[in-house]
Symmetry: C2
Subunit: 174 residues, 2 copies
């Protein structure tokens, strides 16, 4: 069975969307998506509020209640029948997110087991046949076929094959 | 730089030792090390107390205050200068252990970064040049050189090269 490595944030979970919703309810400052280019959606928020955004990212509970990316539950359910699926998140920078991420995953993707979850600091030691990720830093050392999952912060990247949404993932893999 | 994958429990942390100390203070029942053979040190405790032991293993805080295996801090400190060291623990079965394990590691091995930590369910997708682990289930699919770290529950295993303690690790790798 071929192995697919699937990222969490901005691929199956939507921390950026959640943060923008929360921020917009409190402030009228505009989000600048152009500034996200280069890899960090936090930079799209006004500079005086970067710390506020980081503090919320680091707080317990933030990753427990995130929205699920559209169609990801259905498509990964089908992938899980044909491939060896692993969900791999570079989460160690956020110690409070670890248990939240595991619980969130097992709630929304109940067909997955804890055996299919990896929380790490660096993905360079993760091997598989395919990787779907929104960050070049995670894809660059991967030995298998790499797919960049489209997100506001990576629209300027041209070197990778893209998957724009989960309908496209289904077209490629199913 | 060659990559070494190092396990946590029974290799650099001592949950079995901690559990035996705690148990012996409360009960006079003997621990039967013969029954640990086959992979689980929990089975060395009297059967009527397996649930008690598992409940303590699963409780928040258990993995935060474990003893450190003798000489591991010094030897891994030296390995960290010559190799790419990753600490990889199959921890997903114990959701309450995740943050505890990360904090324990960064406290006792302060020269390691969160980038060198992996908490997973299954180690089959972890690649490296060497793996040091006390469980055959973790070693069996590894692509590099495998070393069984000696523990009470694996004394019956004969198919792997052994490392009996951290002094021996130093002899082999340094």
């Amino acid at each position: 069975m071929e192995r697919i490595i699937i990222d969490m944030d901005e691929v199956i979970a939507d921390p950026m969307g959640d943060m923008i919703d929360w921020y917009s309810q409190q402030y009228e400052h505009a989000i600048d998506r152009q500034k996200m280019l280069g890899g960090s959606w936090v930079k799209g928020f006004p500079e005086e509020h970067h710390q506020l955004v980081m503090d919320r990212l680091l707080s317990p509970g933030f990753f427990r209640h995130l929205p699920v990316m559209k169609d990801s539950v259905e498509v990964i359910g089908e992938l899980n029948k044909k491939y060896e699926v692993f969900i791999v998140s570079a989460a160690m920078e956020f110690p409070n997110s670890l248990k939240d991420k595991l619980e969130w995953l097992l709630e929304h993707f109940p067909y997955l087991s804890w055996k299919q979850v990896v929380l790490c600091g660096d993905k360079k030691l993760i091997h598989g046949d395919y990787m779907i990720d929104d960050h070049v830093k995670n894809l660059k050392d991967f030995v298998g076929k790499k797919y960049l999952f489209t997100s506001a912060h990576n629209l300027d990247i041209t070197e990778y094959d893209r998957l724009n949404d989960w309908k496209e993932v289904a077209e490629v893999f199913l």
